[in-house]
Subunit: 172 residues, 2 copies
DNA sequence: GGTCGTTTGTTGTAATCGCAACCATATGGG
DNA sequence: CCCATATGGTTGCGATTACAACAAACGACC
């Protein structure tokens, strides 16, 4: 995977000439290399972290996301839409994920008194316990593959740079 | 829309609450903020870029990935496995994606004379033409949402930092 | 030549996800 | 009060993906 980078970026040059692209963003530039690293980093990190979490805590990264977002919310309760927004998934995706988690007894659906359209999701005791067991697994993975490889300065740089390219858009 | 998100990419904004992992990695630190920005940036960028590409060139980002990797390869020809590796997808995923692209006449399957197990994918004239029309669409999107928002220094930083966290792993 | 382990591509299967459509509810103006 | 519009959640549906298992072919070795 790392090797492909070099190869790719070398040949990118030939492929993109004739394209109006210009210098910035052209092949072999920091731009294209940054883009490629961005894609590779995400793909490989997500795969490994999910795999580790499933093996170590019998929880997918998607499920973990919902549980952790619930736990971080005030009172460990959130409406479906808000939860979907925070977990970066669609509302329909949230519906199905909540259904699975509810079947496992990790979350509970409750009607919202102030808005009868809404459904409020809460973390059950079992859910909190499962989350407690999953946290160190995920934590050690993020440490090993992410935090331990970067300095504090690099993390700050990464945060600042990436926040500039976040697009505010709907997710479903 | 076509699925811009590959696997599991969710927001885990501050996944380390309640852990005594020390300050590094705790909520509100550059670590967790960088991680959250990483996830949000990828999710939103992929969604928007895929959407723009589908609307502007009738090509999903996944299909584009295959075509561009073929184009960048020497002679615009690659074995399935190598193509899958470069496109960050599994071999089975590559099989099916190649099947679709072949049906559309954008790529052609050829036997590899030197290894009868292998199948070599080549870019057809139609495929090259579709790719030519797709390139400016994708590049303008990458420019608008990524490159134009960052300086050269920031792109170099991003590349250097992200390459440190790329994990060399199999994708299928 | 024969054998074992590896690699290559494909397929069955199951899981996931988003979009569009839908109903229920809420909200703001006539 | 009534209607138009917007929002919240669910469901049907199609599309995509990875994992595991498989056969064919390769390669190293004896």
């Amino acid at each position: 995977m790392t090797q492909a980078t070099t190869e790719t970026e070398r040949s990118v040059k030939a492929a993109f000439e004739g394209l109006e692209g210009g210098d910035r963003g052209g092949p072999g530039t920091p731009a294209s290399e940054a883009w490629g690293a961005f894609l590779r980093a995400h793909a490989s990190l997500m795969r490994v972290l999910d795999s580790e979490l499933v093996r170590g805590a019998e929880l997918s990264l998607s499920d973990f996301d919902v549980l952790i977002q619930l736990r971080l919310a005030d009172g460990a309760r959130l409406r479906m839409s808000e939860l979907a927004r925070r977990a970066l998934i669609s509302r329909s995706g949230m519906t199905r994920r909540a259904g699975q988690l509810e079947e496992r007894g990790l979350v509970a659906r409750q009607p919202d008194a102030s808005d009868r359209r809404s459904v409020v999701l809460t973390l059950t005791d079992d859910g909190a316990q499962v989350l407690r067991r999953a946290l160190p697994v995920h934590f050690s993975g993020v440490h090993a593959h992410f935090l331990d490889r970067l300095t504090d300065d690099e993390l700050s740089q990464l945060r600042d740079v990436l926040e500039k390219v976040v697009i505010d858009c709907d997710f479903g």
